[in-house]
């Protein structure tokens, strides 16, 4: 049959129609995948950029600022960051999370504070948008059966277990230990969770000291003189604290004014190792030991992060806020790369299957259990000395011996 005598078919055959449809579908689908991998993932980063936690929120932002360059050098896709300010307020955090999702955020990261993170988690779960918590320790958040909420930060019981283990290691090194402590803590979600956790976890360790007084206070308090007077009157050897940044500075000021230098200040939360604390208080910032999730200075990516931070924020010590905020973005970029799509469910599935061993924090790496919690993280013991943060424990990450007891405030010139 020659072309000239071929029957002219104006309508395509059924087979041709199917082939054509498949081709069109493929043509549409392939660019979608390419688009997903080529376009940047929109990540809403919620932090307390103002309000009483603003100092810490702004410090976390430094971890966001260095992320683009580092992610690129690790061969990970780019992220478009959408900023959100929780204003250190739970209700605002919830409203801002909704706004970021409405503005097109495909994944949320944040929010430093347990109460605010819990509120964002509810919104994320309701809207079906993955939420990677950078910093928040209240255990309840990952006990709700959420499918879109992931936390790469230890829970309060995990922090406490490691803190007590590290304390015992320190007491062995210095050959001394306090017999009594006063426990001061903020009365917010985090502080209350830590308080409950201490009572639950402490009996499991052979801790040589006794808590003789527990003092809860408002994290937004403007004057902590009565609280410190009450703590001082307990005549304890050391001070155990769970605080934030502003109140850590207020507590230190009152300790100086009321002329009380405890044998040690042992912090199991933020505040005492923050850059703003060190810079504002100068010599008065020396001495406190923080038992906190921290970076492993020997890891390759930790060194890269430290170098990037030194370049972007000269004079700022790498610490928890930068480490875990950066790692949250690392998790997002890694999951986006593997998912090959910005589809929320595909992203959530990819995050659930995360296995990053080339990371920054202490521990074997980043993996999530069925509840969305990285339960393999380890803490460090950090002491402020001359404006630097020195790692005292665990042994494999230590780079200094503890200064014990603390030098009296009045003898610091």
């Amino acid at each position: 049959m020659t072309p000239t005598n071929m029957p002219i078919r104006l309508m395509p055959s059924r087979r041709a129609m199917l082939k054509g449809s498949a081709a069109v579908a493929a043509a549409v689908a392939v660019p979608a995948v390419l688009r997903a991998q080529g376009a940047a993932l929109k990540v809403g980063v919620l932090l307390p950029r103002s309000g009483f936690e603003a100092g810490i929120g702004q410090d976390c932002q430094r971890g966001v600022d260095v992320a683009p360059g580092l992610l690129k050098s690790l061969g990970l896709p780019a992220l478009t960051i959408l900023d959100g300010d929780t204003e250190s307020n739970v209700d605002t955090a919830r409203a801002r999370a909704e706004k970021l999702i409405n503005d097109g955020a495909q994944l949320l990261v944040g929010a430093f504070d347990s109460g605010q993170s819990a509120a964002i988690a509810q919104v994320a779960e309701q809207k079906g948008i993955p939420f990677v918590i950078n910093i928040a320790a209240a255990p309840d958040i990952t006990e709700q059966g959420y499918k879109f909420v992931f936390r790469n930060f230890p829970t309060a019981p995990m922090i406490l277990s490691d803190a007590f283990a590290n304390q015992l290691e320190l007491f062995n090194i210095v050959g001394a230990a306090p017999k009594t402590v006063v426990f001061m803590h903020v009365n917010d979600t985090f502080g209350t969770a830590m308080s409950k956790g201490i009572n639950a976890v402490m009996p499991k360790f052979n801790i040589p000291y006794k808590i003789v007084e527990e003092i809860a206070y408002d994290p937004a308090a403007r004057d902590l003189s009565v609280e410190v007077a009450k703590a001082k009157s307990a005549n304890a050897d050391a001070l155990l604290v769970v605080s934030r940044l502003n109140d850590a500075m207020l507590l230190t000021r009152e300790l100086v004014k009321q002329r009380w230098t405890p044998q040690a200040i042992m912090s199991m939360g933020p505040g005492w190792y923050e850059d703003q604390y060190l810079k504002t208080l100068g010599k008065l910032s020396d001495g406190p030991i923080s038992f906190v999730p921290f970076q492993d200075p020997n890891k390759k990516v930790a060194k890269m992060l430290e170098a990037a931070l030194a370049k972007s924020s000269p004079g700022v010590n790498l610490s928890t806020n930068h480490v875990y905020t950066f790692e949250a973005l690392l998790i997002a970029a890694d999951a986006y790369k593997r998912a090959g799509s910005a589809d929320p469910k595909a992203l959530a599935d990819a995050i659930r299957a995360t296995n990053i061993t080339d990371n920054v924090s202490i521990g074997p790496g980043i993996q999530f259990n069925a509840k969305g919690q990285n339960d393999k993280l380890k803490d460090g013991a950090i002491q402020n000395r001359a404006g630097k943060l020195l790692t005292l424990a665990p042994k494999q990450a230590a780079n200094a011996k503890p200064e014990w007891p603390m030098k009296p405030y009045q003898a610091r010139g």
Partner: protein
């Protein structure tokens, strides 16, 4: 608990209470004469606090040295406010006055938020970490200076009302409005002066307060409420009552923290208010109205 702890806490409570008293004194003076309740009182105090912070951060001027100039600025602000904005509302219903002053408070808070942002700002004087030890007593230097400054300013205010002609005229207006008009006093001008004097009080208190606490724009409403508690507890319109109320609230907050739990300090201040309203509605030094 050792006796010295109670002693230290009591002294700290009295010193803080004196500053509270000075702040509330302004509210009491304004209400006692003009019969307008200043619902923007705490917000006006934050203006003075920010002035002190700016003067310290830019020119290293100690808030104690800036007390009189800042009080003068607030005096002028108060005079202009009364003469230009509040005076037309004097004869209007109380809810109109309430809405006007609440709106003014909101404008102040939001303007401060726009200009200074929401974060806490402080004044770090050379004596910020100093304290004096007298036997068992340790007194915070900043609080001691703040308390002394509050006493001096209050004494000057009492002298103004007792010894000057203008002060006596203002008291005459407060005692008998019609009588003041009959004897030819310029009541409108005296009202504006009274509001200005009240604003100067809160300006001085704000300036002193920067030695004790950090300032944020959101501090205003909290201190407006605190001023109300103090004035109602001490006696609405009574100047000595405001001072007594301030010391009482300062002491209550301090002892609630030491004897119960620091988290419940504010709760006890409100408890005092409830007790006063129940058993002595006119306030501790207030006069019973027939």
């Amino acid at each position: 608990m050792p006796f010295d702890v109670y002693l230290n806490v009591a002294v700290a409570g009295i010193l803080t209470g004196l500053v509270y008293g000075l702040m509330a004194l302004g509210l009491s003076v304004i209400f006692g004469v003009v019969r307008v309740v200043n619902f923007a009182h705490g917000e006006m105090m934050t203006i003075a606090m920010y002035l002190a912070v700016v003067l310290f951060s830019h020119f290293h001027l100690d808030p104690l040295l800036m007390l009189v100039p800042i009080a003068a600025v607030l005096f002028a602000f108060g005079y202009a406010l009364q003469a230009g904005l509040i005076n037309p509302f004097i004869t209007r219903p109380e809810h109109s006055q309430f809405l006007l002053l609440v709106a003014l408070g909101l404008i102040i808070v939001n303007t401060l938020l726009i200009v200074f942002g929401p974060d806490a700002q402080s004044v770090q004087t050379s004596y910020a970490y100093d304290s004096f030890q007298i036997g068992l007593l340790i007194v915070d230097a900043s609080k001691l200076y703040a308390g002394a400054a509050a006493i001096l300013f209050t004494a000057a205010l009492f002298a103004f009302f007792r010894l000057t002609l203008v002060g006596k005229a203002i008291r005459a207006c407060a005692d008998n409005y019609t009588g003041a008009l009959v004897v030819g006093l310029d009541v409108k001008r005296l009202y504006a002066l009274t509001f200005a004097v009240g604003a100067a009080c809160v300006g001085a208190a704000g300036c002193i307060m920067t030695l004790i606490i950090d300032v944020t724009p959101m501090l205003g409403p909290t201190y407006t409420l605190l001023a109300f508690i103090i004035v109602i507890a001490g006696g609405l319109g009574s100047m000595p009552g405001a001072l007594v109320g301030g010391i009482l609230i300062g002491l209550t907050e301090a002892f609630a923290g030491i004897l119960f739990t620091p988290s419940a300090k504010s709760m006890f201040a409100f408890a005092i208010l409830v007790l006063v309203l129940l058993f002595r509605p006119q306030g501790i030094l207030g006069k019973r109205v027939a």
